[in-house]
Symmetry: C2
Subunit: 492 residues, 2 copies
Amino acid sequence: MRPLASLRSAPVTSSAEHSEAGHSTAERDFVLAHLDDLHADLDAWLRIPSISADPAHAPDVADSAAWLAEALRRVGFPTVEIWPTPGAPAVFAEWPSADAGAPVALVYGHHDVQPVDPLELWEHPPFEPTVVEGPDGPELHARGAIDDKGNVAFHLLGMRAHLAATGRDTPAVTVKLLIEGEEESGSPHFAALLRERADRLTCDVVVVSDTGMAAHDVPSAVVAMRGLADAEITLRGPAVDLHSGSFGGAVPNPLHAMAQLLAALHDEQGRVTLPGFYDKVRPLSDRERELMARVPFDEQEWLDGPAASRVATGEEGFSTLERLGARPTAEVNGMWGGYTGPGHKTIIPAEAHAKLTFRLVSEQRPEDVGPQLRAWVEANLPAGIEAEVHTPPGGVSPCSSDLDSPAMGALLAAIAQAWDSEPSEVLYLREGGSGPEADLVEALDAPLLFLGAGLPTDRIHSPNERVLLPMLHRGAEAAAHLWRELGQMRLG
Amino acid sequence: MRPLASLRSAPVTSSAEHSEAGHSTAERDFVLAHLDDLHADLDAWLRIPSISADPAHAPDVADSAAWLAEALRRVGFPTVEIWPTPGAPAVFAEWPSADAGAPVALVYGHHDVQPVDPLELWEHPPFEPTVVEGPDGPELHARGAIDDKGNVAFHLLGMRAHLAATGRDTPAVTVKLLIEGEEESGSPHFAALLRERADRLTCDVVVVSDTGMAAHDVPSAVVAMRGLADAEITLRGPAVDLHSGSFGGAVPNPLHAMAQLLAALHDEQGRVTLPGFYDKVRPLSDRERELMARVPFDEQEWLDGPAASRVATGEEGFSTLERLGARPTAEVNGMWGGYTGPGHKTIIPAEAHAKLTFRLVSEQRPEDVGPQLRAWVEANLPAGIEAEVHTPPGGVSPCSSDLDSPAMGALLAAIAQAWDSEPSEVLYLREGGSGPEADLVEALDAPLLFLGAGLPTDRIHSPNERVLLPMLHRGAEAAAHLWRELGQMRLG
């Protein structure tokens, strides 16, 4: 997700302007006539503090599921179920199309939210939704405003607009929703849920609504997410902490060894040095690079803003956007050992530790990283140091949309109509993060589309999370268009 | 301090054998006749848990000072004073020699002890002195048995032996004692005490009794201690912790930068890379290297024992003993940053931290390390990372004995007599650690001698600290010889 340098001169600041600036469609007319319903839904839902990471909020997460189930029934979904898990409940809904052979689309999202610490940095209470007039239009400030209640809520209005605009009693495609309650806690029970409920979840296409666009006036679609593998390295030197005066200079220090090891994790070109790490990384095609280069991106603005960094750096031969979305990485997330309290303690510690995560792309698989890392540590370990490499099972595979599929064509058409653009003008984004989307692809064996209304400036996971309301309005319209477009296509 | 491989076949196991094995002197005869006094003193003093690092034990540290003051009065010191400090009290005593122009010797030691954690690893309660028959003779087990109550206590008997053996009413040299109460807490008020009491502390030679010998049957003297400078490095990357998925691969990670920086702290030859670091390191002379090479040392036994390490390593071109005692070092004592809790948190942290200490030799000075380290960090910092280098004022200068001084001759003669050896056979040791001894040299401008009865196997600072009682017996005898020998010499 990236902020952009150049914002269009005519911002979408209100539903009236929205209507006037673009082409009227029945879907848009319905959405604009019923914005109050969307706003009322959000106002109610965002007041429920469904923080899945905090056990004290478990009743709120349950309330959030119950609210969503009731809202889906109100929209008209004939099947709405709350699916318990060993953790927080998910919500499942289904509205079958009456059309014979209609494709089945499954929308993925989540109804839990991030914690709100540090509370004192919020300008408005996180669970009292507040509209603030911003430079690009009205913003709704609240925890979950976009991540992910906003993205899920626009589907409620979108489905109504689809039915009203097409004059149908059932949608043009069978629409299923699976809205989980533990995404912000790492989706610990999601893969199991997908396995257990596989018979209910069969579909022809998965529509993930948990992402966003490059900017409010840059219609775009995420087409890939990176995978994830994590690891912990423990290095052991002396059997006990030693006095650095009595032993310093003559025995191996595990902190020195850890520094040497991690300094060797990247080569001079910024490439990860694990043997075989790049074997399954497909080179970027000229078309992919051209598409990424079209994404408007002001590096200095990105550095000054969300990256909060002094320089952009990374693998040689790739742009910042390519480094972020299309290339694998190795990052040290934590490192510790020895004395870390106030003052000094003159020791050579017995152990040093580091936590690492690897982001994966194209055909890389998380289960390959463990053996690669073990071989690499073995080869780079200084004399007298023993290493233990822990790579937990699991991890996340990278996933991506098939840019040439009919479903992708439907998505581009839907976005283009909602954003007053052309399908060929919709830009492709690559998400650097990782999520349960890969589980969906693997469990449901269906192609993946991303339709989300977030912006890089939405401060997700941070104080003052917000959503630009016109983005949700366009999102609802795009959803309505998408069901129609998908219904007109013969899928895979 | 190092353990030795080969122990002499005839261990000094009792006072009787001690007497028979060597040459009888009046000093030895007196010591052997009054061992019960030394043992009774230790039994009483070691029961006082004078842990200076624990505020709850402040009354015990005061009791310890009071006990020592009373014991010194009992021996006959005409002047005994307890000197308060903002922390724990020191004990000062003085016994002027009646001889006109007699040199003045000042004994340094400390009456506080290390904490006893982990208590469950002690075979006997740390403050219930227990005699255990060991392979080399009777051992007294207790916290402080050698560090440093044992080393101070032998001076009580030593002074009585000196007077009795020489038939004098006053010692052959004016003897002062300064026994501080905060050595195990870093001697925070010691330098100030030396300044404030400078007029009382003038002396011609300082005798430090807080060290030991190479082995119970290897008469030896410490002749140098390394200095100490400490530093903390903070590296700053992004202004806030960033999501490693959204930003990983494109912004500088301070943990990577810290690893690269610390990996460059030593070159391929194991030399510290700070510019100018070795400028004031005097090369070891052939004589010094020859003297160090004579110290019996089994590297494998040292690795298997106190060093608890798999290999010996360090600066190329130097032996392990040279690396430990005669060469400067840089050690990372602690390193931390990012997420260090259970599981994983996918962040690029805003900061990384490291604590370092440098051990210094010959003419190196702690105040030079700060500028050297700052220049080095500046020169080695990756782009986009800011560094803050904190080097607290103070530190410890290296210190050493003048091997050619008359005082050194007196010390060698005293040790040789007590250990049934020859002065030329007394080996020189270099202590890798650092202590307030450098403050003494600087404040009192007097040459330094080390007379201590510890052994590398005494487990100081660890559970089951002990002293080999015959070492204390010989220490008392050596002290008695030393006052006589020093009185026969014209100093400085």
